[in-house]
Amino acid sequence: MNVKKLISLSIAALLIVSVTAGCSGGQPTQKSAEQKPPEQKLADTGPIKIGFLGALTGNVASYGINTLKGMKLAVEEINAAGGVLGRPLEIVIEDNRGDKTEIANVTKKFVTRDKVAAVIGDPTTGGTKVAAAICQENKTVLVSAGAVGPGVVEIGDYIFRDVVIDPIAVPAVVKWLKDSLKWKRVALIVSVNNDYSVGQAKLFEDALKKEGIEIAIKESIQDGDTVFTSQVTKIKKANVDGMIAPIYYTEGALLMIEAKKQGLNKVFIGGDGLLSPVLWELAKGATEGCMVFAGFSPDEPDEITKKFIDKVKQVYNEEPDMFHAQGYDAVYLVADAMKRANSADPSVFKTALAQTKDLRGVCGVLTILPNREPLRTPINVLEVKGQKFALKARVPVTAPQ
């Protein structure tokens, strides 16, 4: 007992000491092979640091890992071409497990210890909001490569994103449906217990009304449903040109199987919620012709995109997805702004970032609108053909009035 007591006390003392020592130690725990001199006042020599914010482990790790891979490719290219303002870029990598508290911790570390010029991430909207509040307060630029939800750039003038956002994409897609496919009557399917679906359906409804396309029937489903017999029967009776389905891929695939079974030979169109190979894995032939709109198209790429796709295949031996592309583009977006502002100081180059116009990236051309929301053009409409998404059309997008 005596010995046990001693052990417990010494462990306790040790831990307390190490906790306090570690807290006030202030030594950068960062990896980085080439550590620069410790006392570096205003970092205007040495590498320009960019913080990677995302999950490398946990539930949402696949987004973070791919974003980071894309970022690394871009940084390698930029550094090989002489860097930005004569200085190389360096990514500071921390894993946040997709946990909000850790996101806050990591972001604080980036802005106060590592003194990064910009933070790229988090791929999720919620994580971005937590990080954005901290970046705004500490005057560091944050570019989210993946946050598509509402209320992100409104947090402040240091906050940006480089994604396709639905309020801009949906009206363009609906206009294309009217002009190119001559749709006049549609069915709208919404998953009522899914925020993504409810939000996107609302945008579709507004856009359809504006373009004068009639919503002949509106059907509700729920995430987790497996039987869609009654919905499909009703839609079939409504005699529509096509179905608008802002839902996720699992329900989407099951719905399409049912439609095929009942002989409803019309096309479904949805957002990136449907963008998954699960569609044809689950539904076999039933999803043929189903359309999805997205910012990144791996099919029929232009020159820049093709180079990027080849590089991802060569370096990582995998097919690039949206997150690779957004991470890659985000680095170029930041680098471009720094070059134009001729400064790596966030309070200076954020103005240049906000004025970004027609920047070529692998997801098309990016312009930052006056409200700091990104405008990506064109939007790619992809079509399921065989076992892949083939490019159906490139829909040009204009700024909303």
């Binding site: 007992m1 005596n2 007591k5 306790a12 570390k109 939800g149 217990n193």
Partner: protein, 306 residues
């Protein structure tokens, strides 16, 4: 000079510690295993956030309301479930945590799956440590009081405690309410610190995190719980240099601790004994005596917890 990153960790530690101290009263002192503590934190976080965003009431009032509403939900949960024993209670509390999460995911006022954002940032180091101080004070008062001893009696042997005239159900509900109250306070602090909350942030893993703090630190011991919260808040940050192996080492550390210190780091000690022991620590003879006395005094309870 403390930099902002350190302050960040200290604030997170404070918030975790308040939550863990609340759970300690339920699990450590009263011996009722609760797996839904994050549910109370969630109730508190949403109460405070909604009051701030919709009613614009003062911050302190919102924090208090967060605690009170969470405490009331503790009573509501406690009445039917605290008649259950052991595993059954654990499952019931786990269910409560899930109900809260799913409810907030589907309510309009909580923002559903989008969560609540743009909550004004009002929590700072001073507020958190003031709350932590109050929590510690209240907890040590409770533990030393007649009620505290009755709660410990329930933990050691509920039937014997009832036989001695302890109203076990009523006391357990009270412990639940107080524990939930402090979880609510910590939730309110959390919401106003991160400025964004989402129902999924308060899932099962959050409950397990706080339970780990209590168990690792030492159930029933206030300094132990503080230490547990400090270690579990700090370890994932300190282990960052390990990169992808970080959470493996974190897990291994927990396993290692449970094998070699199943009572927790400071299991079965309280603050006075710790201070006394460290004063006398230089003197081997006194230390031995202290050890002997400790064994006499609390040996039984130690076995009880383990």
């Amino acid at each position: 000079m403390i930099d902002a990153y350190t302050i960040q960790i200290l604030v997170v530690f404070g918030i975790n510690a308040i939550m863990a101290l609340g759970l300690n009263l339920i699990t450590g002192v009263t011996g009722q295993l609760s797996l839904g503590h994050a549910g109370f934190m969630s109730v508190g976080a949403y109460t405070a956030a909604i009051m701030t965003l919709r009613l614009h009431t003062p911050y302190v009032l919102n924090l208090l309301a967060a605690g009170v509403v969470a405490g009331l939900s503790g009573v509501v949960l406690g009445f039917p479930t605290l008649r259950l024993y052991g595993d059954y209670l654990a499952i019931a509390t786990l269910g409560f945590g899930e109900i809260v999460r799913v409810l907030f995911l589907n309510l309009e006022i909580t923002g559903g799956g989008l969560g609540l954002s743009a909550i004004p940032s009002k929590t700072n180091l001073a507020v958190v440590y003031a709350c932590l101080g109050i929590t510690l004070y209240v907890m040590s008062k409770i533990q030393k009081s007649r009620v505290g001893r009755a709660l410990m009696a329930i933990r050691e042997d509920e039937v014997a405690a009832i036989a001695m005239g302890v109203n076990s159900t009523s006391l357990k509900v009270q412990a639940f309410a107080v524990g939930a109250f402090f979880a609510g306070i910590s939730g309110g602090l959390y919401a106003h610190y991160l400025t964004y909350i989402n129902p999924n942030d308060f899932g099962f893993m959050k409950s397990i995190d706080s339970l780990s703090m209590v168990v690792l630190g030492g159930m029933g011991s206030l300094p132990g719980v503080l230490l547990g919260a400090a270690v579990l808040t700090y370890a994932p940050e300190k282990l960052r240099f390990l990169q992808n192996y970080r959470m493996i080492c974190y897990g291994a550390f927990l396993v290692f601790m449970m094998v070699f210190r199943p009572n927790g780091l400071l299991g079965g000690t309280d603050l006075r004994q710790l201070v006394k022991a460290s004063f006398k620590g230089l003197n081997w003879g006194a230390m031995a005596k202290q050890g002997a006395r400790t064994r006499e005094g609390i040996g039984g309870s130690k076995d009880g917890i383990a």
